[in-house]
């Protein structure tokens, strides 16, 4: 009998705590499959954020650390500098990476730290209950932008992939989504490329993944996946923004 699908070795099998319809689970699995396929589980060290993925150390079956809010890229820097032969990744949300951790991510990229950042952008603070994020879209209603985000009050959503692609230290920057099977496959390809470029030592790598948060968007899981197409992709275009290998 041939096994056609199994849990990746790089996942522990612990039951996820994520809400129904949340796409963190898919993204965890993709990262784990890539680690398995590259055969790097035993030399990979991951860093979790503060946010919905704070418990990711229970799910990834490799050495893991949990960071203070936004500081994962600095911790990753400390690890990678001491252990340059290891593979280091951070897993961060939009509040963590694009708000409180803006300085850490920008400078990790500018220094060309040889790490891989998995950036899950769902346009909202999930764990704290649906507050406005730096990536919240104009007009989007959140608990702290109850009348919809207005440019003149809250400013504009930040496009991290485009910003970081400008840094000379960035070697691979892509934006993908996981709202349909074809996009899931593209996301996996991008994650793999990011890890490979890290291993080649070319510089900083990041995959920004547009992710669904049905709970805080007030949508059904299916509607949430459609909302990514209708609202997020027009503002956050998919694609490779930097590829030093290409």
């Amino acid at each position: 009998m041939k096994t056609v699908a199994a849990r990746p070795e790089s996942l522990t099998g612990a039951q996820y705590h994520y809400c129904p319809g949340c796409t963190h689970g898919i993204i965890h699995r993709l990262v784990a499959e890539v680690i398995d396929e590259l055969g790097i589980r035993e030399k990979t060290i991951g860093i979790c954020p503060v946010g919905c993925a704070v418990l990711a150390y229970d799910y990834f079956n490799c050495d893991m650390l949990e960071a203070a809010h936004g500081r994962a890229p600095a911790i990753a820097t400390g690890i990678k500098r001491m252990l340059p032969e290891n593979v280091v990744f951070t897993y961060q949300g939009d509040g963590d990476l694009a708000s409180i951790g803006m300085a850490e991510i920008l400078h990790a990229s500018a220094r060309g730290e040889k790490i891989t950042v998995i950036f899950v952008n769902n346009a909202v603070y999930g764990m704290t209950g649906g507050q406005m994020a730096p990536t919240t879209l104009l007009g989007q209603v959140t608990t702290t932008s109850p009348y919809g985000r207005k440019a003149e009050v809250e400013g504009y959503p930040v496009r991290m992939a485009e910003i970081l692609a400008e840094n000379e230290g960035s070697a691979y920057i892509a934006r993908t989504t996981v709202n349909k099977p074809a996009n899931v496959r593209r996301t996996k390809k991008a994650i793999k490329k990011a890890f490979e470029i890290q291993q080649k030592g070319l510089g900083f790598t990041m995959v920004e993944i547009l992710s669904a948060c049905p709970t805080n968007w007030g949508l059904s899981p299916v509607q949430a996946l459609e909302w990514i197409d209708e609202n997020m992709i027009p503002y956050y275009p998919l694609g490779e923004f930097k590829n030093k290998e290409a």
Binding site: I45, C62, D63, M64, E66, A68, G78, I79, E104, H107
Partner: protein
């Protein structure tokens, strides 16, 4: 080898290298920057890592990551920068990551000034950030001790899995003295908890989140047991002419050397004075002070602050005798000033 002339900050940095320090992550601030500059010059040749971070926040989190790999690593800063590091220090304390944090202290509050001060005493000895935790805090009083305590600090950090702070007044960082350079140390402590990749073992997790109240309390009790052990075994002080003293002055760091001079002068006048110099600011040498309080008539805390250590002296003395205070800030009181204070108290109290 004979003595060589070294600047305090450089002696400290060299001490860290002697202790086998492999990484320095920092951000420039006066009067501590020579430590970073020394490491920036030395590490490329030694194969260690020097990295100037984008901020104090990033620097302490780089220390978190680097210490998690099991390497001996450090950072150095001064008051305002140490304040910024507090978030990371709280995480490091709970994650039980050994490292050395240096505060070449200056006067505050706010931006304060770059003149010497001891007004970060509360911050250093009470943990400094959020949550119930402590650091071991070592207070050198000479350039020689800047080197020696850096070496010892790394040993204590590894032995107890605790961040160790070395706190010295800016003056001590900036001044030069002849010192003996110590022999290189080979760190011997195994770190099976380090996150180095899980080859041949199950994954290691370094985490400070404990959502279950039982686990959270258990973690805090675990830390507390370590702190109790430190208080029982590692508190240290130097005593000078305290046996028959009516008046005991308490001072740490460079200040203690000034006080010692004044004590010697007062003794020449037949006044029975002595000095206790806490070497570990935390754990504070309570027992030594408590014991001295059984014979002495009075204590005088001399600090380059508006009075912080005096609270710990009062706790140790526990009401047995009065504790007086003399302090300046930004200015180290000179021996004559301290001597005059001793005379004033001696005349008032009839010592």
């Amino acid at each position: 080898m004979g003595k060589i002339l070294m600047k305090g900050n450089e002696a400290l940095a060299e001490g860290a290298l002697i202790a086998g320090c492999q990484g320095f992550f920092g951000y420039p601030i006066t009067p501590s920057s020579e430590i970073a500059e020394y490491m920036a010059r030395k590490f490329p040749q030694l194969g260690g890592i020097f990295l100037q971070a984008e901020s104090e926040l990033a620097a302490i989190n780089m220390v978190y990551g680097a210490a998690a790999t099991g390497a001996r690593v450090m950072t150095a800063s001064s008051g305002p920068g140490i304040s910024l590091k507090q978030e990371g220090i709280s995480f490091i304390a709970e994650a039980e990551l050994p490292c050395l944090i240096v505060n070449i202290s200056r006067g505050g509050p706010g931006l304060g000034g770059i003149q010497p001060a001891q007004s970060d005493y509360f911050q250093a000895t009470r943990g400094g950030g959020h949550g119930d935790y402590r650091l071991i805090v070592l207070a050198p009083s000479s350039v020689q001790e800047m080197m020696d305590y850096a070496i010892e600090g790394f040993d204590l950090a590894d032995r107890y899995r605790i961040p160790v702070m070395l706190m010295a007044e800016g003056t001590l960082g900036q001044m030069m003295e002849p010192i003996y350079v110590r022999e290189p140390v080979k760190p011997a402590i195994e770190k099976p908890w380090a996150t180095t990749g899980c080859a041949g073992r199950s994954p290691n997790i370094i985490n400070t989140l404990h959502l279950s109240p039982e686990v959270l309390e258990h973690r805090n009790q675990h830390l507390q047991r370590k702190y109790d052990q430190l208080q029982a075994n590692e508190s240290r002080a130097e005593t000078f002419m305290t046996d028959d003293a009516d008046l005991i002055l308490v001072a740490f760091g460079l200040m203690s050397r000034v006080v010692k001079k004044a004590v010697i002068e007062a003794r020449k006048q037949g006044i029975k004075v002595g000095l206790i110099r806490p070497i570990t600011l935390w754990p504070f040498p309570d027992a030594i002070i408590k014991e001295a309080a059984e014979k002495a008539q009075m204590f005088l805390s001399v600090e380059i602050s508006m009075g912080q250590m005096i609270e710990d002296i009062r706790l140790a003395v526990d009401g047995a005798v009065p504790v007086d205070f003399y302090g300046r800030i930004g200015i180290i009181p000179n021996p004559e000033e301290i001597y005059s204070e001793i005379i004033r108290i001696a005349e008032r109290e009839g010592f």
